[in-house]
Symmetry: D2
Amino acid sequence: MSNKTRVGIVGASGYAGEELVRLLTRHPGVELTCATSRQYAGQTIGSLFPRYRECQVCFIEPSPEAIAEKADIAFMATPHCVAAEYAGPLLQKGVKIIDISADFRLRDPAVYEKYYKKVHPAPELIKQAVYGLPERNGDKIRNSSLIACPGCYPTSILLPGTVLLEAGLVRTDAIEAISLSGVTGAGRKVDLQYIFPECNESIRPYAVTGHRHLPEIEQELALAAGVPSVTLNFIPHLIPVNRGIHSTILFYAKEGCSAEAALAALHKAYDGKPFVRILAPGELADTKHVTMTNVCEIGCAFDARTNRLIVSSVIDNITKGAAGQAVQCMNLMCGFDETMGLI
Amino acid sequence: MSNKTRVGIVGASGYAGEELVRLLTRHPGVELTCATSRQYAGQTIGSLFPRYRECQVCFIEPSPEAIAEKADIAFMATPHCVAAEYAGPLLQKGVKIIDISADFRLRDPAVYEKYYKKVHPAPELIKQAVYGLPERNGDKIRNSSLIACPGCYPTSILLPGTVLLEAGLVRTDAIEAISLSGVTGAGRKVDLQYIFPECNESIRPYAVTGHRHLPEIEQELALAAGVPSVTLNFIPHLIPVNRGIHSTILFYAKEGCSAEAALAALHKAYDGKPFVRILAPGELADTKHVTMTNVCEIGCAFDARTNRLIVSSVIDNITKGAAGQAVQCMNLMCGFDETMGLI
Amino acid sequence: MSNKTRVGIVGASGYAGEELVRLLTRHPGVELTCATSRQYAGQTIGSLFPRYRECQVCFIEPSPEAIAEKADIAFMATPHCVAAEYAGPLLQKGVKIIDISADFRLRDPAVYEKYYKKVHPAPELIKQAVYGLPERNGDKIRNSSLIACPGCYPTSILLPGTVLLEAGLVRTDAIEAISLSGVTGAGRKVDLQYIFPECNESIRPYAVTGHRHLPEIEQELALAAGVPSVTLNFIPHLIPVNRGIHSTILFYAKEGCSAEAALAALHKAYDGKPFVRILAPGELADTKHVTMTNVCEIGCAFDARTNRLIVSSVIDNITKGAAGQAVQCMNLMCGFDETMGLI
Amino acid sequence: MSNKTRVGIVGASGYAGEELVRLLTRHPGVELTCATSRQYAGQTIGSLFPRYRECQVCFIEPSPEAIAEKADIAFMATPHCVAAEYAGPLLQKGVKIIDISADFRLRDPAVYEKYYKKVHPAPELIKQAVYGLPERNGDKIRNSSLIACPGCYPTSILLPGTVLLEAGLVRTDAIEAISLSGVTGAGRKVDLQYIFPECNESIRPYAVTGHRHLPEIEQELALAAGVPSVTLNFIPHLIPVNRGIHSTILFYAKEGCSAEAALAALHKAYDGKPFVRILAPGELADTKHVTMTNVCEIGCAFDARTNRLIVSSVIDNITKGAAGQAVQCMNLMCGFDETMGLI
């Protein structure tokens, strides 16, 4: 009998679920013992995702009991509110939770309600949740039982943004984050606007004044800057690629800021971190260098004319932006090498 | 013998040249009598552009004399400095010039030199050039013999931007224009970075602190705002689509500004203009609705939290951003209906 | 009051319907007076298709009466069986029908039933229907009131195939047609297999032993060859482009066949036809040269080693493969120039 | 000091070279000690391929001496004729060769000369070369010092084709192979026909009567069938995806052939082979399920009307079609597990 950690995926039928299947089935430290899906219960994972057709794990109907019976760690890849409903029962049964939905990202349940249009089902659990950005919160993640993995857009923005604010190189006001995402970011969603001919040869922004990832970005930037709040414009766009997010972030430079100073601060924060790569001065990021990896690449340019620091940051939205980061958190929680199963 | 206006294309072997071929060969008011290309001299246009394979016009070696002999109007689709060199001789021979290169866009030859790294070959002609944005400068275009057609990025930014500044709805400082362009925007250029596998599934910014279109945008925005200068951040990105530019422009709102007020100002400026369409409140632009047309679509949103007006503007970079706009100028210069050959 | 021909589109909410809107609204000889859609009744065409947002025609609930009141000609862009149900009532009221669905393509209602799994609703009308391939059946189309427009795949295969068989250059047995289609060919269908991430970076065949277009191709090839029947393999594939079909057709050469002989036969058949272009010997077709046009391009190569004539044929599946060809038929029926509104 | 096998890549600057970098740098059994490139000599691999930017191996000028000094095994990713020139000196110095160019694939130097337009530089070495299809020639590969890795198209066609011919299920005459390849198949080649706007939204065949992979396919099919020669039509097409080949292969069925019989033969041949997956009856292959993997997926359908077996086979052209298969060969040669570094 294997003494590997037993892991389950709750809500495994989407793109993040599929990527979790990829990562967890080849991870040497864990065994994928359970996956839930109301829609596909009774089918094997392999029959839904032909890329992993040899995977014989069967989807089961979700319930905290069924999951607790089979798994030591549950990855929640569910619509919002589900993880919050399952968290209590699962934690009580000793199952650790790595939530890649939005349920435990926001510290303030009122903000959750405003952006997700639902009353938070378990506000009392929020404060024990750790925001799952391993490069920032590694120690807390190691000791937590409830991880709130960041959204894809926030990951690309926060990895550079928190460091630059913390270093005092940039101002906390008048920040703009312009993000461009591949279509898997919209989920495995059957909707007219996402069929091929409607996305291909199309460039379009959406949700420019109140995307759900906005409060999460503001919350974490404020925390890093040590200020009560930060207010930014976040402008997401849909781009006809499968995977990848590019974020351009514009900050006002403080005294002493330059591309070199910014890059130095990023090096100081991330040298030795296996999944962040800081580009050379003048170099900008390109999503194609990180797709299908757990890497974030960050470049900086400085515009002296406007006194703006321009940050260019890329990730794979499904890997570092969701499933890969979740596995990275798991590695820390289990005492595995941080890169296990991710390289 | 036809009494149609005879038109020539100088430097016809690129994408803007190809689009001019498409538009001019089916235009009822003109006859395409001449096209030049050093590289393809002796071949027919149809042999280079199979889409227009029935076009029997032969490429000839370029020279002001050869062009003047065959054409009443010359479209300059040439690398920078060529139009400026040809303009004098051509104008002297009575040939009108519609320049889709950058040579006559900038009023100040020093700025030209700074951005194009060449001394302007004919600074004395700059002041007789009219900036060829027909929705803004229609009357001047009608009476001019030397048109400087705007760049593709500037067209998408200036159509909304000039109106909003002129209307006093937005501030002249702290403007950001984030633009996303299809790959034809890079020209029909044989370079490793533009081959299919390097562009497909790639999202990347470039030239974020000093793109050549920047001074042209600043110049025209300042003019519209009635101020000596405007300084903005212009952040272009390369996107894996063939055609289309989307620009997101962020302005600080002045007192009284709102999405509705902005849209009203745009309606006032452009209602009746055949090639500008103002979207409904809350609607954002999508390049796929304008590709292969001469239309610019503009939407607005207002973010009360940050007091920013967010403008979303799309064009086809090759049509409204280059060849189509050039033909629209020609229509005005020739007294044709503004839409002739363009719908 | 306009004395233009009044045209209606029945089932206008798909991609063929959208293309009919494009073509009919700018056609100088007709007026689009009516469009039906159960789903979108009450909305304007412009609200559904933002590309044509100025189009104020309202979708109405479909019924033969409503259509007959408003239109002299009805384009049927409906699921199968609908056109067959409407045809009787519409013809009786004097409305001519151009059917771009499959209802009147097959001469034998038993074959229809076999491939479409429905009893043909109006078998008595089949024999008055004319197969709407204008380059082959122009005279019959001119005098008909009921046109069965060919499918997209058949159009690309029949334009070369019928001529080569008729000319006796190739054998009637052992024909293969391998076709590659853009995703609009699947319709404006909201289905998981057609969302962007499932189509992009994917190449796949489908329906390789009994696609619905197969019997139609066989029927028309047999007719051209003057034989009772022809049996071929038809292998369609889905390709991540929006528009375009490429068909490679493999024939066994008869005595005297060569690329040159095949091209000569094609020239003889199609010289003077405005929408067929025969390529030079050795040249093969590329969809990008015909997208957004009503043109079919045909190239030929001969493989002496295997004695096969290899035909390469491209069309735009939505234009020449559906809406454009329908308008071309209409032009003939109305006595307009064949190219009116199509160039 | 590491006792890992030292491997080098000769001609490492193309897409196959890049994929070798990916696979060899994370392979636990080998160390990448050397890479050659005339063009990039002096630069690190990481500077050329930003995806692998941490790779500090420097490109050096190629020469058999330089390679032999640093490597036990040399992967040849060079234009044709180079591997044949280097093979003698390298073998003499005890370096094993895994050639992913075409130099040692064809048994007959006259056929090489006909298709590659060069006299073969080392015909005497041809007979010691083993055709590097591990699923077919595993034992020979284990004991060889000179591997001729198959071309990408041949791999996709031979894996199913050899088995079906060997099993006597299909006829050896009148075979057609229609293949669709992503653009990386054309190499990292800077040529107008491969820039993004020329490939995107384009579908086109090429080299339909004499592609260089044709004789290699015919040679290996004949060998499997036990006949002196097989003659087929091979029709390649270029498709706008980055990676992936789909081949449809049409065979005439012999008595007793059916989809089930074909699948059974394939199962018998490949069950237990880690990189071949046989699909269920009726299922066809899709490139997206194998990209970025070393897997070949094969499906079959049977058309009773025409008595044809239709085989659908997919690989990643760069992995199983080039670099991955080369590493798989290396694993056998070195006594590693066949899947090492490939899953």
